[in-house]
């Protein structure tokens, strides 16, 4: 059976504000999808809502994992079911070493039924695997002894996210602007890394502004999101077009969604202006 993450007619709001207006997206395991769109079009919201962020309210539609509705699941359950997100801005957890953080995380994700206090993966076995993955990602061993994202540079954070993905071996991974804030070489390394850690085994949704991250992970599908809806789906050539030519042509082709985009942006300004 092909495993599938299926999003149907998804409407999402944050507080008063409607952000997603009926997103449809189906990702099969083994496929690479690119999601592109201008700022404020709902890309990160989609990532967050797939992962179960409590601030987002789903007002309509479904998210299904292999036919099972996961909307009521919290982030823990989704993670343990094999859904992963690489954060655009990962959180620092001072005082907690990367290796300890990951050992616990890896144990939980690989044994979804694990209860608190039950055995963790044996230290020796875990360290060996972690060392292998870090070597593969050309990361210094020292990295594992540092505190989670604490004082990391932008590039280090993103690589740490990829390392986590490599250890957790998700079925579906969302990479939320994993290339943002990185220089050309760092993006290249990230792109290679994703491919190397077995990207082919996963269903991947790459949220990006650039096509560089796609270099080693050629998308099977490119989606364009505008005004909270996916308005176009194409192949890798669509990603290149968007990167080189921007979104004006897309707006011209989809005037209604462009109007919604404009309206959302205006509301944003109002909210800011109103001091909210």
């Amino acid at each position: 059976m092909i495993e599938t993450l299926k999003i149907t007619n998804l409407h999402v709001s944050v507080g008063e504000k409607q952000i997603l207006n009926g997103v449809n997206l189906t990702i099969n395991r083994g496929e690479v999808h690119a999601l592109m769109g201008p700022n404020g079009s709902g890309k990160s919201t989609l990532a967050g809502v797939i992962m179960g962020h409590p601030n987002y309210e789903v007002t309509e539609g479904t998210i299904e994992l292999n036919g099972q509705d996961i909307l009521e699941w919290d982030a823990t359950e989704r993670a343990r079911a094999g859904v992963f997100m690489a954060f655009q801005r990962p959180m620092a957890i001072p005082g907690v070493k990367m290796a300890d953080f990951l050992r616990h995380a890896t144990t939980n994700v690989r044994n979804p039924q694990r209860k608190e206090g039950e055995q963790l993966i044996p230290m020796r076995e875990f360290r060996k695997e972690l060392r292998e993955k870090m070597t593969q990602l050309k990361m210094d061993e020292e990295f594992a002894r540092r505190y989670v994202n604490d004082g990391f540079s932008g590039g280090e954070m993103k690589r740490a996210e990829i390392l986590q993905m490599a250890m957790l071996r998700p079925k579906f991974a969302i990479l939320d602007e994993t290339d943002s804030g990185l220089d050309v070489d760092a993006v290249k390394l990230a792109s290679q890394s994703i491919a190397e850690i077995g990207g082919a085994e996963m269903g991947i949704l790459i949220i990006t502004h650039h096509d560089r991250l796609l270099e080693h992970n050629t998308p099977d599908f490119t989606h364009v999101i505008l005004g909270g809806r996916i308005v176009e789906t194409g192949g890798v050539e669509l990603a290149r077009e968007l990167y080189t030519e921007g979104y004006e042509k897309v707006r011209e082709r989809h005037p209604e969604d462009a109007a919604i985009e404009k309206e959302m942006a205006a509301k944003d300004k109002q909210l800011v202006g109103g001091g909210v």
Partner: protein, 443 residues
């Protein structure tokens, strides 16, 4: 608590009988009598005293408690000695146990004894080594007249622990002292640590109840004397039962080029009022003070810290961290005092509080009093809740919400443990705190 106990209290007759049975050097009995007179003159502190305005002890009734039986008959056998948390996995050079203010046992590696190290019951050792110890008693590191509790301890201390390290002797293995009480018991402990010039030692001391929900009273003192060029690492972990009243005066004197690293952990007691002072008495002394507090229920832990710079070129660095659950409360009042001659002082104090419930409260009151003009003194404090974004991040990695909270709290404390350089000590302390962290109910 039985009514028989309530009737005894701390009467003059009881005190006279107590001294008569003690067989102590005359100078010590004299000190006790003077302190007793002061104890009788002083009222119990009240919220009208500035230092006590946030710490209400109206429900504390001193006459519910009594002096320990001077001969220790029967008392020591009450209840099982609690498990020592700080001893786990540490290769110790000596161990001493005090129960209900009476020395139960004391052991010291013969190789250390041969070098002149003294370790064990202060009550016993002061009789044998009175002439050696007298000047250190008379230094009055903790002012016996400071308040009613200081006077009570100075007059009536019993049991106690002494560590004396002669000049130039360096002890690799930590020494461990446990002072325990049974339910309703009294601990009038006095700890005296003396490091002669150039000596080097680590001492781990902890206090605990036989019954984690039990009551009782601790009225104690700790005096740490670090002479020229000596180095002391001292850890004290307070893990009393949750109905114990804890009153303590604790002070370190650090001489020229001396080093003191003092780490306190506070987990237990109903109400704790602790004065923790460090004085740098000679130039180029360095002091690091670390504090870890973890409270729950209706616990109230109040710490007055004082970093007293009396000489030039000294450095002091204080970091207190508290995590609070339920309706518990902490008060930290920190003072850096720099005397006029203490030029080139480098002093720092910081207090971070992590609120694990909406009903918890942490008061953080830093203070500076600076008479010298060429100094660097800084302070900071933060109070906050566990960050929702941090929780979400950990949950996306398969942590349950509760596991995530525990991990974040453990990390919060780890920043203090990182300052402890001896690995076994660091591990033992983080393990002791970790047990409590693993009981966190969640948010």
């Amino acid at each position: 608590m039985s009514t028989a106990i309530a009737a005894k209290g701390f009467s003059q007759a009881a005190f006279d009988a107590y001294l008569a049975a003690r067989d102590e050097p005359a100078w010590l009995l004299d000190m006790r009598r003077k302190a007793w007179a002061r104890f009788q003159d002083l009222p119990l502190p009240s919220v009208r005293d500035e230092e006590w305005m946030r710490t209400d002890i109206r429900l504390f009734k001193l006459d519910r408690f009594e002096l320990p039986d001077a001969l220790g008959h029967g008392e020591a056998s009450q209840g099982q000695v609690p498990h020592a948390l700080l001893a786990a996995g540490v290769n110790l050079g000596g161990r001493a146990v005090v129960m209900n203010s009476h020395a139960l046992s004391a052991k010291l590696e013969p190789s250390l004894a041969k070098q002149g190290v003294l370790f064990g019951s202060l009550q016993h050792l002061v009789k044998e080594h009175g002439d050696l110890l007298r000047p250190f008693f008379e230094r009055r590191v903790v002012d016996p007249h400071k308040d009613k509790f200081a006077a009570l301890n100075a007059a009536c201390w019993s049991g106690g622990t002494l560590l004396y390290v002669p000049k130039g002797v360096r002890i690799e293995q930590p020494l461990h002292a446990l002072s325990a009480i049974s339910n309703g018991g009294v601990d009038l402990d006095k700890t005296l640590v003396i490091l002669e010039p150039g000596a080097d030692a680590t001492m781990l001391s902890e206090t605990a109840s036989t019954d984690t929900t039990g009551g009782g009273m601790h009225c104690g003192s700790i005096e740490l004397i670090v002479e020229q060029g000596a180095r002391l690492r001292y850890v004290n972990l307070q893990n009393w039962g949750h109905e114990v009243w804890h009153f303590a005066h604790q002070k370190g004197h650090v001489g020229r080029e001396g080093r003191l690293q003092w780490t306190i952990g506070a987990l237990g007691s109903r109400l704790a009022k602790v004065n923790q002072h460090v004085a740098m008495t000679g130039p180029d002394a360095e002091v690091q003070v670390n504090g870890v507090m973890f409270t729950e229920g209706k616990q109230h832990l109040s710490y007055n810290t004082h970093q007293h710079h009396q000489a030039a070129f000294c450095k002091s660095d204080l970091l207190y961290k508290a995590a609070l659950q339920d309706k518990s409360r902490t008060v930290w009042r920190g003072m850096i005092r720099v005397e006029r001659d203490a030029q080139r002082t480098d002093a720092y104090q910081r207090n971070d509080n992590l609120m694990l419930s909406r009903d918890a409260r942490a008061d953080s009151i830093p203070g500076l009093e600076i008479e010298a003009d060429d100094v660097r003194c800084t302070h900071g404090s933060t109070s906050g809740r566990v960050d929702d974004q941090q929780l979400f991040y950990a949950m996306t990695r398969g942590y349950t919400r509760r596991e995530a909270v525990r991990m974040i709290v453990a990390g919060f404390f780890q920043q203090v443990f990182d300052r402890i350089t001896i690995e076994s000590v660091r591990d033992a302390l983080s393990e002791a705190i970790g047990r409590r962290v693993s009981d966190i109910k969640g948010l």
